[in-house]
């Protein structure tokens, strides 16, 4: 698999690249901001782009905007956005138009090679990946009349896996 990495921190870019190399994923380009990333993607046509949510110049949500542009302009390139924010609104904004081939992971997941490579493989396969921490936050939100209370523990487990964007086959395998 060929990926490009966009993050304004060199340390993260090189670490991530090394980690992915160990898992047999080739990094074909690195970008420090959204513009460079878009140029790289259109030149290299990678299988996926791993994008930091906050990049220069405004350090707000360039990553999400860049990811959405890549999905419209290069539908064959999957995107995986890395973020420090647990807030579901970012993930929703990323996936609301077309959830296929996009992923939203907390940034510290990059220390888990398995989680990261798994997420990359899934977005490249066209799935939608949402970080488990965000899913569990949504599921554990206190509600006055919680429809989730009617579910059994097993059903909740399945729902959580569905919410993370896993396919039926994967859910079967995990369970």
């Amino acid at each position: 698999m060929r990926v490009v990495i966009a993050d304004d921190a060199v340390l993260i870019r090189s670490g991530l690249s090394a980690l992915l190399a160990e898992a047999g994923i080739e990094t074909v380009g690195q970008a420090a901001d959204a513009e460079e990333l878009l140029r790289l993607v259109s030149r290299m046509q990678p299988d996926a782009a791993v994008i930091d949510i906050r990049m220069p110049p405004t350090h707000s949500d360039e990553g999400i905007l860049a990811a959405r542009r890549i999905r419209t302009e290069h539908p064959r390139v999957a995107v995986l956005v890395l973020s420090q924010y647990l807030d579901s609104s970012y993930a929703i904004r990323l996936a609301e138009e077309n959830p296929a081939g996009v992923g939203y992971l907390l940034k510290d997941r990059i220390a888990h090679a398995a989680t990261l490579t798994d997420a990359l493989h899934r977005v490249v396969a066209g799935e939608c990946v949402v970080d488990p921490a965000i899913v569990s936050r949504l599921l554990s939100r206190a509600r006055r009349h919680n429809p989730l209370d009617d579910l059994t523990a097993r059903e909740r487990e399945v729902l959580a896996l569905m919410a993370e964007g896993r396919s039926n086959a994967t859910i079967c395998r995990v369970l």
């Binding site: 670490g15 807030d87 939100r141």
Partner: protein, 565 residues
């Protein structure tokens, strides 16, 4: 000077009374002989000049005009052939001094102009009296009492000196008139009739002197007659203009005095401007007050009001002991000087009263603005801190987690997996801790998704207390408003949790340019200190915060904030 003013008329009238009957009886006087109404016109001009001297400010100028009025008929005595020869000569030479006196009195705006014009007049008159003397009769045919101060045999040089005097007077007059025109630009429209009257008068006097250099004077010559008429008409017109101005001033004073009488108690702010507008019949008149602490002009409500000098608007300052009190912006049809002079003591007091109020309001406004700026700065600072944390420490700890993980994989072979696992767990905990701290300092989602997005995330993160959201206005507000509203909602939810509420609902809407947010819960109000501690910040944005018990035993925290900050 006051005594002089009182003396102008008696002295002037006395001199006139002396010269007029004499002139009357002279058969040879230049114009008097030709038509009786010309003499009457000359007498009217003399009276007019005495009136002008009375109405104009005192000083060298006033004195010069008074003397010219009193001696207006003197040149006519040149035709008194049966009288002493020296009288004819002095009377003849006087016609050089009259234009100089008029220019000094009415047109000269600088000391240099006064000196030059006076020099020209004296040179011309002196040369005529001492060297030229047109009445010298060497053969004693008609009169034998010769001019005793005449220096004979110098007529040629005398004519040159006389011509030099005339040229000096004329050019200095042109220069003085040019300077007053340049200085008077802007307020010229007011003083234009006065300026024109004075110029016509001066021209009527100087032109014959210039003419006389090239052709001998003759009463019947139309050019001399026109000049004579111009001078008399100019003097009369000038007096009429000044009388009209004085009457206008008097009427304005009366109107303003009546206005002051009507203001029995302190008028409401802005009323004074309205009354002044009516009194001076200028509906565009604006009154701005000086706010000394801020160093700007403000309106009656204390709002900054810049001067609008567009078009024909003029600004007149009202001062007290050198300090500005107010500035009137009015049309050129209203004389600023006249307005300033006409303001009586009562109106000035009312004006100062309004100024104090406007200045206090301006100060209050500035205070309110500075409070809101402090809130804004604090918010920007927290946002900056969160950014620094995110782009600095959080990034580094994530990199650290990456390194620890890679290190752990290598160490695995050395049989010490426990240590690496602990380091990994510690870095993961640090990452989560930092994420919580950064969010506590400033939730980035507030800037990225607005108030509704941030409050949604507040609700989602509550695992113990159900937080339901009703409609929240989707609009984006300015930083300070969103930040303050978010802090109040977060504090209200936290206090509800502390008061053992079992449910919280957040709703909001916009009404009349104000953002209204209600946070309701089912616990008793209690003290709710976290909410009330935010009251200062809310008030700094001219908002309100209220904690009220609800009928069912619950509590409602209501926040109202103007959206415009």
């Amino acid at each position: 000077m006051r005594a002089f003013r009182l003396l102008v008329w008696p002295l002037g009238l006395g001199l006139l009374a002396l010269t007029a009957p004499l002139t009357w009886r002279l058969p040879d006087t230049t114009y008097g002989g030709s038509a009786w109404w010309l003499l009457w016109l000359e007498v009217a001009a003399a009276f007019a000049l005495l009136t002008v001297a009375l109405l104009r400010p005192l000083g060298v100028g006033g004195l010069a005009v008074a003397v010219s009025g009193a001696t207006w008929l003197v040149p006519e005595l040149a035709g008194w052939t049966s009288g002493p020869a020296v009288v004819s000569t002095v009377a003849d030479a006087w016609s050089h001094l009259l234009p100089a006196l008029i220019v000094i009195g009415l047109l000269a705006s600088s000391r240099a102009a006064v000196v030059l014009v006076a020099a020209g007049g004296l040179l011309g008159a002196g040369a005529r009296l001492l060297l030229v003397d047109p009445f010298l009769d060497p053969d004693c045919w008609r009169r034998c009492d010769h001019n005793p101060v005449l220096i004979t045999g110098m007529t040629g040089a005398g004519r040159w000196l006389e011509a030099a005097g005339v040229v000096l007077t004329a050019s200095a007059t042109l220069w003085a008139a040019g300077v007053s025109m340049a200085r008077g630009r802007g307020r010229l429209l007011h003083e234009l009739p006065e300026f024109v009257g004075a110029s016509v008068l001066a021209a009527g006097l100087i032109a014959p002197a210039v003419l006389r250099l090239v052709r001998p004077e003759a009463a019947t010559h139309p050019a001399y007659l026109v000049c004579f008429l111009l001078a008399q008409a100019g003097a009369v017109a000038l007096a009429l203009v000044l009388i009209r101005d004085r009457l206008g001033q008097w009427r304005l004073s009366r109107r303003l005095a009546r206005l002051a009488g009507a203001l029995e108690s302190a008028p409401p702010p802005g009323a004074l401007a309205g009354a002044l507008r009516d009194a001076v019949a200028d509906h565009g008149l604006q009154v701005r007050y000086w706010a000394p602490a801020r160093g700007i002009y403000v309106n009656a409500e204390g709002e900054s009001a810049e001067s609008t000098t567009a078009g024909d608007r003029q600004v007149t300052l009202v001062t007290r002991r050198g300090q500005p009190v107010a500035a009137f912006t009015h049309s050129e049809g209203v004389s600023g000087n006249r307005l300033d002079r006409a303001l009586g003591a009562a109106l000035r007091l009312a004006l100062e009263n309004d100024q104090l109020r406007a200045a206090a309001l301006a100060e209050l406004r500035e205070l309110q603005l500075s409070r809101s700026r402090i809130v804004e700065r604090a918010q920007l600072e927290r946002r900056r801190l969160e950014r620094n944390l995110h782009d600095g420490a959080q990034q580094r700890v994530v990199s650290l987690a990456l390194l620890v993980r890679m290190l752990g994989q290598r160490l695995n072979g050395d049989g010490q997996p426990g240590l690496a696992a602990r380091a990994e767990a510690l870095t993961r905990a640090t990452v989560e801790e930092l994420r919580r701290v950064a969010r506590g300092i400033y939730p980035a989602v507030l800037a990225d998704a607005g108030l509704s997005g941030a409050v949604l995330d507040l609700a989602e993160s509550s695992t113990d207390l159900p937080v339901s959201l009703d409609t929240l206005p989707p609009g984006q507000y300015t930083g300070p408003v969103e930040d303050t509203a978010y802090l109040v909602i977060a504090a209200a939810i936290a206090e509800a949790r502390r008061s053992d509420a079992t449910q919280v609902s957040v709703s909001g809407h916009e009404r009349d340019g104000r953002l209204v947010i209600d946070v309701r819960d089912d616990a008793a109000p209690g003290r709710r200190t976290a909410v009330t501690e935010l009251a200062d910040q809310v008030r700094a944005l001219a908002g309100e915060i209220m904690v009220e018990p609800e009928s069912g035993g619950g509590t409602r925290v209501r926040l109202e904030l103007p959206c415009g900050w």
